[in-house]
Amino acid sequence: MDPTRIDEHPVLGPAAQRAVVTFTHAGREVTARDGDTVAAALWAAGLRAPCPGVAMLYCGIGHCFMCRLTVDGVRGVRACLVLVRPGLRTEPEPDPAG
């Protein structure tokens, strides 16, 4: 059981069973659930910042661009809008503040 996951919710009820998906962030293996966005999966894994002191998830709806990551080699991808998939490789932006 993962303590960050809400398996039972007073309004939404029990969580649907979702397949485990594994991807890598900065070379580290991250375990997510199918249907997670990359930003949500990293948050649940305790990776709240791609580098210290710089927030990743802020608005969560694609507007603030704080969650930009390099995704499969493509820079500037908003992690809150991309769903996890097996084998996905994400990296912090070379200059996250820029």
Binding site: I6, H9, P10, V11, L12, A40, A55, Y58, M66
Partner: protein, 408 residues
């Protein structure tokens, strides 16, 4: 370049966009809906609604129903697609959000008409430390809680005493997060004026009647019971009133978010009667998460580049596109719906979308459109009557918009 042509392009797959797509597609138009998010539904899947009897329902079910209806009517929905340009003709330029989905997203869409239903964005709360990891806008917290079923943190405060702030505090608690309190933000970095505690009390007290949810009405009633001007009330403002187990503090404010690598604490100070921070009263509360709410602003960039005049109507959330009662703009072929027109509750956004879809179908000569147009106008008027507005002065804002449209 992958290009395609449609009769109607809808930008935004929230309730407004899906409503427009369903009606237009049912009238036989070729309709394409695009949205940046990986799933359709806009902000609906984030929301939990409470009816007058106190029963909760999930926005997710409504989002699925509206998505299914649009698809059943024949509309095509492409998610994960960013519309980055809109040029006369009309031509929209799109890009895939996820590089792996590049082949699934057309680069260019030619459309006879466009409904821009881009919704609204949350305003930030610019306190010192607001960019630290662990500071979340209310919507991000709701997405984690309700879409991803992830607990945003262990211990949180909510900064922002408004309907969304009060709502998200309850949502956090339902999700198992300890919420230490709901507080206003101290006067901000970007020239935010101090809001006296008495004014905050008066503002929250209006929820006693107008809030759609029993828990928000309760907040209004509790706060109304605080005698705002009385000297005795100052102690009450500082200790707060308990709102379903969460302290609502109106005489104190968050002055800063503290941490080096991530949120570690918030700094809290007492407020003077004029809303300024009382020096020497600061203390720190240890938290790992700060959730902020400072209202919503219509998302109007695409309308701006398309040449639609923007008018400033603060009662509707800020700059809104000039538009008429049938959601038409002064720019032929460009229509609007939902919170992009001014912050709107979802049933109103849906009715606006249905009306915009009917207007487009009629303009393109569809035989059944006239009848749909009449019923959509009635449904929007009815929706506005039945739905509590998100913004307190919405009626004044709509009246102002009517004046501006008449005088264009």
């Amino acid at each position: 370049m992958r290009s395609e042509s449609v009769d109607l392009l809808v930008i935004g797959a929230g309730p407004a966009g899906l409503g427009a797509a369903t009606v237009a597609a049912a009238e036989g138009l070729r309709v394409l809906v695009v949205d940046e998010a990986p799933r359709s539904g806009g902000r609906l899947p984030l929301q939990l609604h409470q009816d007058a009897a106190g029963r909760w329902t999930a926005g997710q079910a409504e989002a699925r129903r509206l998505t299914d209806a649009a698809m059943a009517a024949g509309a095509r929905i492409v998610t994960g697609a960013c519309a980055w340009g809109l040029f006369p003709g009309w031509e929209a330029y799109l890009a895939a959000i996820d590089p792996a989905e590049d082949a699934l997203v057309p680069d260019r869409v030619r459309a006879t008409a466009v409904v821009v239903a881009t919704g609204a964005v949350q305003r930030p709360v610019a306190l010192p430390g607001w960019t630290l990891p662990g500071v979340l806008c209310a919507g991000a917290a709701q997405a984690l809680l309700h879409v991803h079923r992830i607990r945003p943190g262990g211990r949180a405060v909510v900064v922002g005493v408004d309907a969304l702030g009060l709502g998200v505090a309850a949502h956090l608690r339902m999700g198992g997060v300890e919420v230490l309190g709901i507080l206003p933000a101290a006067p901000g970095l970007f020239g935010a004026e101090p809001e006296p505690p008495g004014a905050i009390v008066a503002r929250v007290a209006t929820l006693a009647e107008r809030a759609p949810q029993p828990s928000l009405r309760l907040a209004g009633q509790l706060v109304r019971a605080i005698p705002g001007a009385a000297r005795a009330a100052e102690a009450v403002l500082r200790t707060g009133v308990m709102l379903e187990g969460i302290p609502l503090l109106l005489g104190r404010a968050v002055t800063a978010i503290v941490g080096t690598e991530a949120v570690a604490a918030v700094r809290i100070a007492d407020l003077a009667r004029d809303g300024r921070v009382l020096e020497g009263t600061e203390e720190e509360w240890l938290v790992d998460t700060v959730v902020t709410s400072a209202g919503l602003a219509p998302l109007v960039e695409l309308l701006d580049v398309a040449g639609v005049p923007l008018v400033h109507v603060p009662e509707l959330g800020g700059h809104v596109p000039l538009h008429g009662p049938d959601l038409q703009t002064p720019v032929p072929g460009i229509h609007v719906a939902g919170s992009a027109t001014g912050v709107a509750a979802w049933p109103v956004a849906l009715a606006q979308g249905e009306l915009a879809g009917a207007v487009v179908a009629q303009a393109q000569g569809r035989p059944g459109a006239e009848r749909r147009l009449m019923s959509a106008r009635q449904a929007l008027a009815e929706g506005r009557r039945r739905t509590a507005p998100i913004l307190a002065d919405e009626a004044r804002g709509l009246a102002r918009l009517t004046e501006l449209w008449a005088g264009r």
